[in-house]
Symmetry: C2
């Protein structure tokens, strides 16, 4: 592999694109995104698992573009809620819900759950699909528990409620560099990078 | 922490004990096992998830011994079987089943499943319990697919049927060093070591 190789990330999320670009900076891979393929339109996410959603998006984009495509799906699993909100993490409080509404709903669901029963984890699954049909996966988790009130202003989503295992801080109180080291997405992305380099050999 | 600290692994499996001992060789942690506490008797594993089983074993042993206890539960999740055999991996073909019987049953269940639908992963969850009641978790996965016949003589369990993602070989064709780098248990154990050192500070 001598020339730059183009791959495409099946997302419009600028934060995710930037993150993967940074991780691929020391390779000859060039990252495109859905912004480069406006004809594709919105991608479906109808799966019952993170894996199904990530696969669905990666395979659709790989097939449509003829390039290796990478897609992720992530969410929060709360043990006292039997794994909810899971694949519904982004729309826990409704289809148009924002982070604040989702966090409020989570606190409400756990209002009568004591601290030692509030264990939870973030999970991220990344799918890497080749136009020829093969699909590869990477997965990462970040263990913790759900606090009783939001704390911290970094991050997004449920970060202000998520107390990191072995720490007293929520994920929203971690710096971005600290978070990348321990986060579900950080772990899954580093594994995905290894797969990409192997797949594209 | 200056003196050696004793921790206990909630298993009788000599292979697992040896593996963790090796990983802890550069620390001042000394590893005991269930062999050092014969009065404990067999541990229950009645959970519906790897996490519940690992937690159950670690908490029981931490409580009984007054030491930090570490326990794991692992298994194979086959997508075409909706995640089975999962927590029943060791007894898929019955309570007294050996590796050969379990592998034969898996091949039988997937007899009419084509190669591209035979995706699977090994998952390992490790619980670290303190006598005071706190419990910490580490998790690792190893992605792959189920072959049509056993290959290789290393490893154990479903390894001869498990074709590693991005490789042509089954896990039973990997050397033990190669396997440790990519395996579900290897990943979970390295994360568990970090937690142990943090928890015991």
């Amino acid at each position: 592999m001598v020339l730059a190789e183009y791959i495409v990330m099946a997302t419009h999320n600028q934060g995710k694109i930037k993150e993967l670009k940074l991780l691929l900076a020391d390779t000859n891979l060039k990252l495109l995104s859905l912004a480069d393929f406006p004809e594709l339109g919105p991608l479906e996410e109808t799966g019952q698992t993170f894996r199904e959603n990530a696969r669905q998006k990666a395979e659709t984009v790989a097939k449509a573009t003829g390039l290796v495509a990478i897609a992720d799906d992530s969410g929060l699993e709360v043990d006292a809620l039997q794994g909810a909100p899971g694949v519904y993490s982004a729309r826990f409080a409704g289809k148009e819900a924002d982070d604040e509404a989702n966090n409020a709903k989570l606190l409400q669901c756990l209002a009568h759950t004591p601290q030692d029963k509030r264990t939870a984890r973030f999970r991220s699954v990344i799918a890497i699909a080749k136009p020829s049909g093969e699909c590869y996966f990477a997965e990462g988790t970040c263990e913790g528990s759900i606090g009783f009130r939001p704390k911290g202003s970094n991050g997004f989503g449920y970060d202000p409620l998520f107390i990191v295992q072995g720490d007293k801080r929520t994920l929203a109180e971690f710096s971005i560099e600290e978070k990348n080291k321990i986060s579900h997405r950080g772990k899954a992305l580093r594994e995905a990078k290894d797969i990409l380099l192997q797949v594209l050999q």
